[in-house]
């Protein structure tokens, strides 16, 4: 019988780098959007919507969400790997996490592209 490891921390450096790269993207976006909101000070619905309807902000916001979901996938996967040992349960949790995050990506796109 071949004892193939189907889950584990063998994805290595690529994910480690991706988690850091997405972290930097989110950190930069957070400071940027805070600055924009501080300058614009949207007080009404129209003003608030106007901020995110702006093409550049819309693009950056979507980039933030995509980064967030990829970042969260790596982070949450690491957490499952640390605490959940039975392979079946762990794989199920991994799949559910991916499903949720893929769904959230579509949700975020739907919110932003309605604007």
């Amino acid at each position: 019988m071949i004892n193939r490891i189907v889950v584990g921390a063998h994805y290595g450096l690529k994910d480690w780098i991706a988690q850091r790269a997405t972290a930097v993207v989110m950190a930069v976006y957070s400071v940027l959007i805070a600055a924009v909101l501080l300058v614009v000070r949207p007080a009404t619905f129209e003003a608030w919507q106007g901020v995110f309807a702006n093409g550049v902000i819309k693009f950056l916001t979507f980039l933030f969400f995509v980064s967030l979901f990829y970042h969260a996938w790596i982070g949450v996967r690491d957490i499952w790997m640390d605490y959940v040992k039975p392979v079946g349960v762990r794989l199920t949790l991994h799949v559910l996490t991916i499903c949720a995050l893929v769904g959230y990506t579509a949700w975020a796109a739907a919110i932003l592209w309605r604007l």
Partner: protein, 128 residues
């Protein structure tokens, strides 16, 4: 092979008696905040979507966000994001070997709390 390397050393894995140093507290709270943010993503996305959808959904957003239980959750999420952000920046600096000496690392852990707690309160005052 594995048995050869395992030494019988005394260990204490009792979470209630381990005295976690400050950098350890930053670290575990970074994990807790990341997990909490992840679990609340549907709430965050729903609120974000409602706030941008239409004048009607914006009004719904405002009334929902004004309810006390929601406010408590949002306060928690705000803290989680700010702590995760500050601790995350510290980890990124440690990753590129900035401040990895013991004393410096302890100080930067204290800075994380010194920044994240007041910043959470300020943002709370501004936003909610």
């Amino acid at each position: 092979m594995a048995e050869m390397t395992i030494k019988k050393r005394p260990k204490n894995l009792d979470l209630t008696t381990i005295r976690l140093p400050l950098p350890g507290k930053v670290s575990i709270l970074h994990r807790v905040s990341g997990a909490g943010l992840f679990l609340c993503l549907p709430v965050i996305l729903w609120l974000f979507g409602a706030s941008l959808g239409s004048p009607e959904s914006f009004a719904t957003f405002k009334s929902v966000a004004g309810m006390l239980p929601v406010k408590v959750i949002l306060a928690g999420l705000l803290w989680a994001f700010v702590h995760h952000f500050c601790a995350g920046i510290r980890f990124l600096l440690l990753d590129i070997h900035v401040g990895i000496e013991k004393e410096a690392a302890r100080q930067s852990a204290a800075v994380v709390f010194a920044v994240s707690i007041p910043l959470t309160l300020i943002l709370w005052g501004v936003l909610l």
